[in-house]
Amino acid sequence: MSNSVVYSIAFYVLAVVTLTAGVMTVTLRNIVHAALALITTFFFIAWMYLLLNADLLWVAQLLIYAGAIPVLIVFAIMLTRRSMSDTSNPESSSSGWAALIAAGVFAVLVVVLMPAAWPVGHYPDQLKGTTAIIGAELVNRYAVPFEVVSVLLLVGLIGAVVLARREEQD
């Protein structure tokens, strides 16, 4: 099999698995199952990044999205709903509208994105890894956003602590 065929098979498998897991995330009526489906989605998206030669993001996705954030969410689930019942994540009364709007958004996105003439670039084939390039970009071109984001993370951290802390009983 040529490389292209392998690549195509890999893409389609990943796409189907990712989308299926995504659909399960938003349809499963048990919140813990939904969280597991979310982890699955994130996990396979990471591999999709690899298909796109984004090795740094592959790692970042695995660590953060498939690792850290689901832990947070699972903690939230445990702290709010003690049971793992099948009714822990029911649908609301607006689900019909939700389906309609989601379908509409999808249709519009496809209609707009597909025929568009995107600027085409030439990816340097000799490039072996992206980490070096992104690292250099982050401390040069994106130095200011980088610092701002670091402050944002700090703010998020402090904010979360302040919000979630129990009021001290005097």
């Binding site: 989308l19 938003v26 984004a54 970042a60 009364s93 389906a99 670039g121």
Partner: protein, 108 residues
């Protein structure tokens, strides 16, 4: 430009699909944590598009801008999740529920 049979549009289609799934989740679930997860799905959908653009629209003057952007998105999403879950816990503590249709203090 494409890699074998797979081009930019294939990835954009996945991105659009994931985004629509996120919207559906956001609008149809009752559990606030589920809403949060849906938003994360939408973030990831956007990230896929960004990384795909970085791959297929590579430009030497600004190499891999899409990937850098995606990194920022991941960071901001992490911060957002942390704050959102803190708010959620607080609401749960105060109101005893995470059902979004029961949280209607701003009702008429």
């Amino acid at each position: 430009m494409s890699i074998g049979y797979i081009g930019l549009n294939h990835f954009l289609a996945v991105s659009a699909g994931l985004f629509a799934i996120g919207i559906y989740g956001l609008l149809s679930r009752r559990n606030a944590i589920s809403l949060l997860m849906s938003v994360e799905l939408m973030f990831n959908a956007a990230n896929i598009a960004l990384v795909a653009f970085a791959r297929f629209g590579y430009h030497d003057a600004q190499p891999l801008a899409g990937q850098a952007f995606a990194l920022f998105v991941i960071t901001i999403a992490a911060a957002e999740v942390a704050v959102a879950i803190a708010i959620l816990l607080l609401i749960y503590r105060l109101r005893g529920t995470v059902w979004v249709d029961e949280i209607d203090l701003m009702r008429w």
